[in-house]
Symmetry: C2
Subunit: 248 residues, 2 copies
């Protein structure tokens, strides 16, 4: 049985500060817990409620908790009854992939989770986030990504430096803006990094001037803008259509 | 100065039950309030905090409230200080538009708001929701739609009957599923209704069998599915590309 202090220390992992300090984060529910290993990540501790315990017979390392203790540790409205404390991945640096998603200052955890899920769907294996973006190991991102957090490399980096590196290795940096080239007539290059801006301010000026091209989803109606995850999805879809089906 | 009972009755509009009873809903922030008239909707009452009041001099109908009263009425973490109580639109019935979005049992207000914003961007003027979908006049939908709620016709209807009507008037009903025709090789018809399913269960069987075609966004990676608003956006983008630029 875990001690009160232990339960409390897991509950604290809802805050970024404690995730950083301890090098741990939380994953809930059998489906996501089963995906942790996809990323080579290691489960540090596994907690299960007494009700769910019969499903985990034989797992020596599972610790049983009461529903009240689970609610204390869980970030979900209805805790699924299984909670893993996982070691954060080592810092990765990666600008060598052929297709990269760059995101500047995304602040909403739901948006980041949806972006990771979308990147994964479209086969983008590397997502590089500016250091002031929301933490990908925030419980809301973990849940909204539906396991894609464990399949996509998530890197935090200085985007100015990253873009400079990308350009020297021949990657075209494409900034999604409101007044750029129409994505449906633009011909996408084989090697690209798609840069998306923050929900409220778009791409900041110093990154904008570094882009090789500014691209835009044409508007057919009157909305002023699109949600950041939606924009990313529409552009990635068009890129994949062009590169895969070799049509303009 | 509004009475305590009046403040309380506005606060109650966070609940669907009271919106239905009173025929009223709430819109917050100057940007959204300015858009209310786009839809022919009428502001029933306008409340402003003492701090924001100087910006609304000369508006006779504005009622001043304290910050505490505003917080009680507001659904936002940081109330913008301007809140309109608006008359719900009359029930609309509409299956005559050339391009329609149909949504079955969407439950997350954020997803519905994002879908309305996306429909608006891609010039879809009519969105028909199954009667068990989340209420479009829920404060979270109002805010997430970024004003698109006032530019897009939102109709609640029995989707089985709606699809039957659509088919008799020559509209092709296209269901978005995980195992249908590839949207990048399918030729979209000029007159269509795109049907999206619920976040967790997809399109229900009786609607699925009514569809003229099942279509799919091809997966390039390992995610199991896409967010409903993201799927809608990718498909609408491809439809508009084909119909506008007349290319396959």
């Amino acid at each position: 049985m875990p001690s009160k202090a232990e339960i409390k220390s897991v509950a604290k992992l809802k805050q970024k500060k404690y995730r950083k300090e301890s090098g741990l984060f939380v994953v809930e529910g059998i489906k996501l817990v089963n995906e942790i290993a996809n990323n080579g990540l290691k489960v540090h501790k596994l907690f299960v409620t007494h009700q769910q315990a019969p499903h985990f017979k034989g797992h020596e390392s599972v610790e049983k908790v009461t529903s009240a203790e689970m609610r204390q540790m869980s970030s979900m409205t209805t805790p699924p009854g299984l909670l893993a404390v996982v070691n954060l991945p080592e810092k990765i640096r990666s600008t060598s992939a052929k297709h990269i998603l760059l995101v500047d200052a995304v602040s909403d955890p739901g948006n980041l989770g949806t972006l990771l899920r979308t990147a994964d769907w479209f086969g983008i294996k590397t997502v590089i986030l500016s250091e002031n973006s929301t933490d990908a190991y925030n419980p809301k991102v973990v849940q909204a990504s539906m396991g894609s957090l464990f399949r996509v490399k998530v890197v935090y980096a200085d985007l100015v430096k990253t873009i400079t590196e990308l350009k020297t290795n021949g990657t075209a940096v494409l900034g999604a803006v409101l007044t750029g080239k129409n994505i449906y007539s633009y011909t996408f290059p084989e090697r690209f990094a798609l840069l998306l801006g923050s929900e409220s301010h778009g791409i900041r000026p110093d990154l904008l001037s570094q882009c090789d091209e500014h691209i835009t989803i044409p508007a057919f109606g009157n909305a002023e803008s699109l949600n950041v995850a939606v924009s990313g999805a529409v552009i990635l879809g068009e890129i994949k259509r062009q590169l895969t089906f070799k049509v303009q």
